[in-house]
Assembly symmetry: C2
Amino acid sequence: MNAPLAGLRVVEVSAFIAAPLGGMTLAQLGAEVIRIDPLGGNIDAKRWPLAPGGDSIYWASLNKGKRSVTLALDTPEGQAIATELITAPGPGGGILLTNLPTRGWMSDAALRARRPDLITMRLTGNHDGSGAVDYTVNCASGFPIATGANADPVNHVLPAWDIAAGLYLALGILAAERTRQRDGQGQEISLALNDVMLATVGNLGYIADVQVNGAVREPIGNHLYGAFGRDFATKDGRRAMLVAISNRQWRAIGKATGLTEKLAMVGPLMDVDMATEGGRYAARHAIAAVLEPWFAARNLTEVRAALDGSGVLWGPYQDFGQLVTEDARCSTSNPMFADVEQPGVGRVLTPRIPLSLGGTPAQPPAAAPLMGQDTGEVLAQVLGYDQARLSALRDAGVVTAGV
Amino acid sequence: MNAPLAGLRVVEVSAFIAAPLGGMTLAQLGAEVIRIDPLGGNIDAKRWPLAPGGDSIYWASLNKGKRSVTLALDTPEGQAIATELITAPGPGGGILLTNLPTRGWMSDAALRARRPDLITMRLTGNHDGSGAVDYTVNCASGFPIATGANADPVNHVLPAWDIAAGLYLALGILAAERTRQRDGQGQEISLALNDVMLATVGNLGYIADVQVNGAVREPIGNHLYGAFGRDFATKDGRRAMLVAISNRQWRAIGKATGLTEKLAMVGPLMDVDMATEGGRYAARHAIAAVLEPWFAARNLTEVRAALDGSGVLWGPYQDFGQLVTEDARCSTSNPMFADVEQPGVGRVLTPRIPLSLGGTPAQPPAAAPLMGQDTGEVLAQVLGYDQARLSALRDAGVVTAGV
């Protein structure tokens, strides 16, 4: 079978994380994704971290497997070519993904006039179209105040709202494309980053907890809410996260540590039913007090030897360096990864999409293009431009790289 | 036009966050999603937070818009009925979503023998099939050690890996269903929660930064990496997040606060080019020192008046209570929300999917079912069971609720 999205062509006019991740996800499922940037790149072209030669690792990591076209988007000629690419005929074409303001040539009306079955997917900050980014969405979400051990807000470092938004963007395009195959009609879809946050806060029950119980979740450090789970320090200065949600996982902790009898004493001590998640949550400090000496007496290697394969749900804390150098799952022994030469960056461990599709070939881990490298090839293949026309565009300064 | 996924039937056998979110997302796009649980519910049926009457707000929030069937899944009769539901004929049927161990009757081979074009989507912990949950995935990711102001790990409270995994699950099903429409063939797909983390760490450039630069991101508190951004305390004890990525956003800060001249002095003071993101990142502490008194002299209301509409990218910190009670975006004035009566919980502000599809009717915000409420109706509609057969199943204890 062909790749799931073989034959689909998506034009992306984007920057930063969410929209590029959405396009990359579609490329990883087999779509042809053409990212159009202004000459020299968009505002994210040099975003940190940078490789020693100055190329952006950030940009390369979020644009893997795409084709890169650069055009003088501030000129009518550049805008006309971009419009042609977005609205080019063909059953899998006519799909635009963008997080940029959509006025003038990029407006839905202007594009749809040329291809009525167009699918346009637009990411905004707020639902009223006003601006917001992951940081200004996150501060409003409630999570930073509930994170850490006290009421001082702690921002997440993972751009979680951007990640979720990128996946919603890919989903929205697939849903609209399924509709177009069925009904022959395109549509305009929008997604607000702040709505991704609000929907998620609702989906996790925080809104209802406030409305029904008047409960505002307090910061509880690294404890797990509503069950037993916490981090523990080991003898060699490492830390491990230990979790018990099911009763079977709870019993496994006692068995693996030899502390079953002491842990059983916590129930009467704290007047809780230790056979319930809620009981173990209520007694979490007493449970932790019993377990702390066990971890403190062992190196991480010894902890691992005692807990791996025991049915205990646990994991070591790792910094990014330890993840890359110590964790076998983060290596080519994991079929999701391959070592890929990334132009401008070097040979790096590169993931494909985390989905493993048993029946269709996975797109292997791919490098990102150099900025603009596919310009001439895309204009020739998709729009039929010949070499004379490409040369004239280059002479006029409408295209520079890749022709 | 009909809803994008009208005609699709997905059977979900699941618990907790990721798989239920995947199924709920498909339901929000118009699929019929039937969640099958053991009699009385699965392990997440009473997960905290609870409503005053004991019903799980958590469960209700993650299972909106689904149909709920409960069966004695520990009996051959219950397993046979679940198998029939999963493999029932029809072009949109034959789709299973699960995060439970898939042995015996739930094995791919057993199900596919009855419907060769089946699509099975299975969430595991690690790619080798071993167990992992958001907490034990997150500790290994590098993010907790990079979060906060020092090297002590800080767990996120948002179950970010579960959220991303849920959206990947929905995407994988849509991709496989598109393939089946095209080629007539189903397939088995799997997704490991830990691979969602690893792919994301790679997609954000952290792996390459370690491999190419030997750089391990240090905790920098609430600062933004590679540009200027930080939280500031206001006169009335609130906090605000302030961000400048583009030069235009940076200039807007000077203009709105009246501090343009002072901020311009930071460049020569710190020997950086203030017209670059990297320069402003390097000078972040000096910039913050200039801005701190401005925020400290103003209440949040005054900050809002000065910054809203000024082109400054900012937002207030809110706890979950403030989000629900103070933020107009988190109310029915946002078209994503409606007040919905949730049985067992009460009338609560409920989101639909955050995607706004212009051409197809949105599934309005929906309540979750009560556990098992649709059992009889689903068995009648999908499998054609008559009342006599349902009564016999009830007498045999194979079904209890909803018949």
